[in-house]
């Protein structure tokens, strides 16, 4: 599994910028992941999260063409799906309930992102639904 550290991992990609979404998706597929999306609007993200039975983790851009992604991120939290923010914003610019979510600063270091997802993925108990979530105190 050295060549495909994310083998079998279903990763949702939320990013509005086509070039970045495509780049992220390519890097994740290269690492063996199954990419869900990418989607570039809050509504598409919500629809996809509702429709997919299994999402192992998500890579989430904060600002989607001027629209904040938080409703979709809340849905991920509700479903216990771990995720990263990819963003240029500081933690202080995020609502309090998202300040403890891990952030990958843009431009995203793709190799480090792969490693981070891999670490998150291996935390997941085999066949289980309980995951370690970067959950803030609400």
């Amino acid at each position: 599994m050295v060549d495909a550290p994310l083998h079998g991992c279903r990763v949702l990609v939320i990013e509005d910028e086509f070039l970045l979404a495509d780049e992220l998706a390519d890097a994740l597929r290269d690492a063996g992941a199954m990419v869900l999306g990418p989607v570039g609007t809050v509504q598409h993200a919500i629809d996809l999260i509702r429709a997919e039975a299994r999402i192992d983790c998500a890579v989430v851009d904060v600002n989607l063409g001027g629209e904040m992604v938080f409703p979709a991120a809340e849905l991920l939290q509700t479903r216990g799906i771990p995720f990263f923010f990819t963003t240029g914003y500081d933690a202080s610019a995020l609502p309090p309930s998202f300040r403890t979510v891990l952030r990958c600063e843009k431009p995203v270091d793709l190799r480090r992102l792969q490693q981070a997802i891999s670490a998150m993925h291996s935390d997941r108990p085999e066949g289980g639904t309980v995951m370690r979530v970067p959950t803030p105190n609400r």
């Binding site: 509005d16 910028e17 086509f18 990418p38 843009k106």
Partner: protein
Amino acid sequence: MQQQVPVVEDGIAEGLVSGSPAVARLRGLARSGASGERIVQQAEVELAAQRESEERLRSAVEAGQLALWEWNLDSGEMHWSDENYRMLGYPIGAVEPNYHAWADRLHPEDRAGTEAAIRAALNGDGKYRHEYRILRPDGTILWTLGRGSFSYDRVRRPVRMIGAMIDITDRRNAEASRSMLIGELQHRVRNILAVVRSIFARTVEAGGAIDDIALHFTGRLDALARTHVIATRNPGATLDLENLLREELLAAGFASDPRVTLYGPDVPLDSKSAEIIGLALHELTTNAVKYGALNFPNARIEISWVVNLRYGCDPQLILTWREQGVPIVEVLPVHQGFGSEFIREGLPYRLGAETELVFTGGGARCTISLPLPGIPA
């Protein structure tokens, strides 16, 4: 002056603050055996001076829009200046000034923090300073800075608090919009860096001689820069589609080439659409220069666009790029390249556009249908 100034037996005039220098002077006169009339005269002088001083203070307080309060902790009674009533959204004198009448106006989110700040001052050094919001009955929100200090008796029992409050709404709003701008700037700068990195990676991936790679990359960077310069000039700025096209042709060195015709109505594009469309037009132009109509003397490019108004939907821009007279060549690199991928997939993804790009006998033909939500139908 026949005004009656009541003089009590020891010569103190009511209305003058007991213990003040004025009273001390009156007492001195009484003790020196001055006549009642003399004392009354002096009391009138002192009263006039005191009124003048009070008036000066009142004017300054009004001019400075200071809301003053004084709180007697034994009786619970308060005194508010007119401005205090106004800031709290009460008609002047309409309520009995007390702690609850003030606390009722605190913004629910700030109430606990503000009361805690008062308690901390009470139990600490007696100095209170706190910024909080007032929510008035008409729904307006006022940011205020309150400052005050407690007085204590000999056994350190708090007896009085006196203080002032000023309206700092403008400052807080300016701070909020400044930090929002900084956030927005961070977001944009980092995003554009990521986009530039991605364009670079893709340009290199496509391969070719290093000079070609460099040329392609700077061309794409320049196309991006042209739209950004205008978009960052002001946030709501729009770019006219025809100008965008002319700028692109100018940059490629074909500013008024007789082979190129442009026609269509004015179409203001928002900065995001302009950036994406600008990059797509750059790819089409570059392809035309290298392999298409701008590489052959007898070929032509017709670029035309219309805006269709549709009932119940956003207006739709349909742009057609049609090359004619290009001999069929074997290699059409744009097929697999960055440009064709960007037009076929990037425009639908980012702008919800429908695109068609084909290379037929005669040259490239591209159609872009794009919803224009910003334009009133």
